[in-house]
């Protein structure tokens, strides 16, 4: 009996000796989702795995100046030959974003949808990378300048992209984007309508608010046309490098790229120029977000 008493006493001491109250708050591991893999919804031209949050509308201006090799000073450093794309999108859900855009190149309207399928996470649920699906329909309104009969459907082109993204660390994020581009109308009989592209992109944060970005669109099948002299000419892969600068509700992205087109089929599969010959365009993207639907905040 005595022993029972002693044991109980010891036990009670032990309870009170548990002096670090924080130990009582130990919790089971939770699911920790990766966030802010990229700063913008585009790395440069390539879509990133980011979607604006539910209830957020985003307005984006993409701008490319004239080429460095095109009478650069005469054209006031290319400022007088700008290509632009405006877009407006809205996230109905955290996983669903839809929007419309207009590019000056080829006077193209586009509609797009972005759907998050899988989120990268650690902790209670480990998922090594995230998956986002992105698709666009593009409608060129350029006037026909030949006297041939045309169908409206010839104006359409499409992209489908599967974005596989991983945030390796606070600073380093990389993604692979297997993509499919389809043009209803192409330049020559032999020019392929379907082009498979592997988008490769990444960012490295050099400070909390500044990141270096780069991306490459590797065309996987032979994509060519015949130039005015009848020579077979391949379209180039688009290579872009840039800097992301974040200030409050804006993200500024400054970059240099050999792709002048801004709509997805254009930059992925219609890049005639190359870095080697100075067909390089300086440009920027600016995005601004507006919270249209406020989220419900935790209550007491």
């Amino acid at each position: 009996m005595k022993y029972v008493c002693i044991a109980l006493l010891l036990f009670s001491f032990e309870l009170s000796a548990q002096d670090d109250l924080l130990d009582l708050l130990e919790e089971e591991p939770q699911i920790e989702y990766a966030f802010a893999t990229f700063k913008g919804t585009r790395i440069i031209n390539l879509q990133s795995n980011e979607l604006p949050a539910e209830g957020v509308m985003q307005f984006m201006i993409m701008h490319r100046f004239g080429a460095l090799n095109d009478d650069f000073v005469y054209n006031f450093f290319g400022l007088e030959q700008a290509q632009t794309r405006f877009s407006l999108d809205y996230s109905f859900k955290d996983w669903l974003n839809v929007g419309v855009g207009r590019s000056s190149f080829s006077k193209t309207y586009d509609g797009f949808a972005k759907v998050r399928l899988l989120r990268q996470s650690k902790g209670a649920k480990k998922v090594p990378f995230g998956i986002v699906y992105y698709t666009t329909v593009n409608y060129s309104t350029l006037r026909w300048n030949d006297d041939l009969p045309h169908n409206e459907s010839e104006r359409l082109s499409y992209t489908h992209e599967v974005i596989l993204a991983r945030k390796f660390s606070k600073n380093l994020s990389l993604q692979l984007v297997p993509s499919f581009v389809h043009f209803n109308l192409v330049e020559d009989r032999e020019t392929p309508n379907d082009i498979f592209v592997l988008g490769i992109g990444g960012r490295y944060k050099v400070s909390n608010r500044v990141a270096i970005t780069a991306e490459y669109g590797l065309q996987l099948n032979d994509n060519f046309y015949y130039n005015s002299e009848g020579n077979k000419t391949s379209y180039n892969n688009a290579l872009s490098i840039g800097v992301d600068i974040e200030t409050g509700g804006h993200v500024f992205q400054l970059h240099a790229t050999n792709s002048r087109g801004l709509a997805d089929p254009q930059w992925m599969a219609r890049t005639p120029g190359s870095w080697g010959t100075g067909d390089v365009f300086l440009g920027f993207n600016i995005s601004r977000v507006f919270t249209l639907k406020k989220p419900k905040l935790p209550e007491e």
Partner: protein, 182 residues
């Protein structure tokens, strides 16, 4: 006799001691930064806290990622750029009610206003603080409330020039917790 001693001991060691520790995992925490340009507010009701009625010791911890904001981008910037949640996931306060004296009796409805002194850990930086708090006992339940101010600079949270007008250097923190026996 032995039985009586035993049961007395049991009631002391189990009921007594256990009931002295009060816990919650749904404490409310809000921080509020007010400037003429912008008001920013982050709230959570997922903070956890223990109050030891025997000693007046008090702890509270919260996952930085559990704070919600009106604007999603604020939340992202808060975690990514300011408190760096991936590197420093938790904020922790560990302290003691000053001049605690006798244990608070949960059978008497009352309000007690005291000071709590302890260390607050945010962004990997510890700082000693002393704040006012009030504990209220009602129908055998204890709740605790406190409002105090912290400065981002004290915790090495850097505010860049571009947003210096938008974030106050004096941030109001509100804490409210209703406890249950552990």
């Amino acid at each position: 006799m032995k039985k009586i001693v035993l049961s007395a001991l049991m009631s002391v060691s189990f009921l007594g001691l256990i009931a002295q520790k009060q816990i919650t995992r749904e404490a409310y925490l809000k921080f509020y930064s007010s400037t003429p340009v912008e008001d920013i507010e982050g709230t959570t009701n997922k903070a956890s806290s223990v109050l030891d009625l025997a000693t007046g010791e008090f702890v509270c911890q919260v996952l930085m990622k559990s704070f919600h904001f009106e604007k999603a981008l604020m939340q992202e910037h808060f975690n990514e750029n300011y408190v760096e949640s991936e590197k420093y996931p938790k904020a922790v306060f560990k302290g003691k009610i000053l001049d605690y004296g006798k244990a608070i009796d949960l059978s008497v409805d009352q309000t007690i206003n005291k000071k709590i002194k302890g260390t607050l850990l945010i962004h990997g930086v510890e700082k000693e603080i002393e704040v006012d708090c009030s504990a209220t006992v009602k129908k055998g339940k204890i709740t605790q409330e406190s409002v105090f101010y912290v400065s981002p600079a004290d915790f090495n949270i850097e505010i860049p020039g571009a947003v210096v007008d938008k974030i106050s250097d004096k941030i109001e923190v509100t804490f409210k917790a209703g406890y249950s026996p552990l």
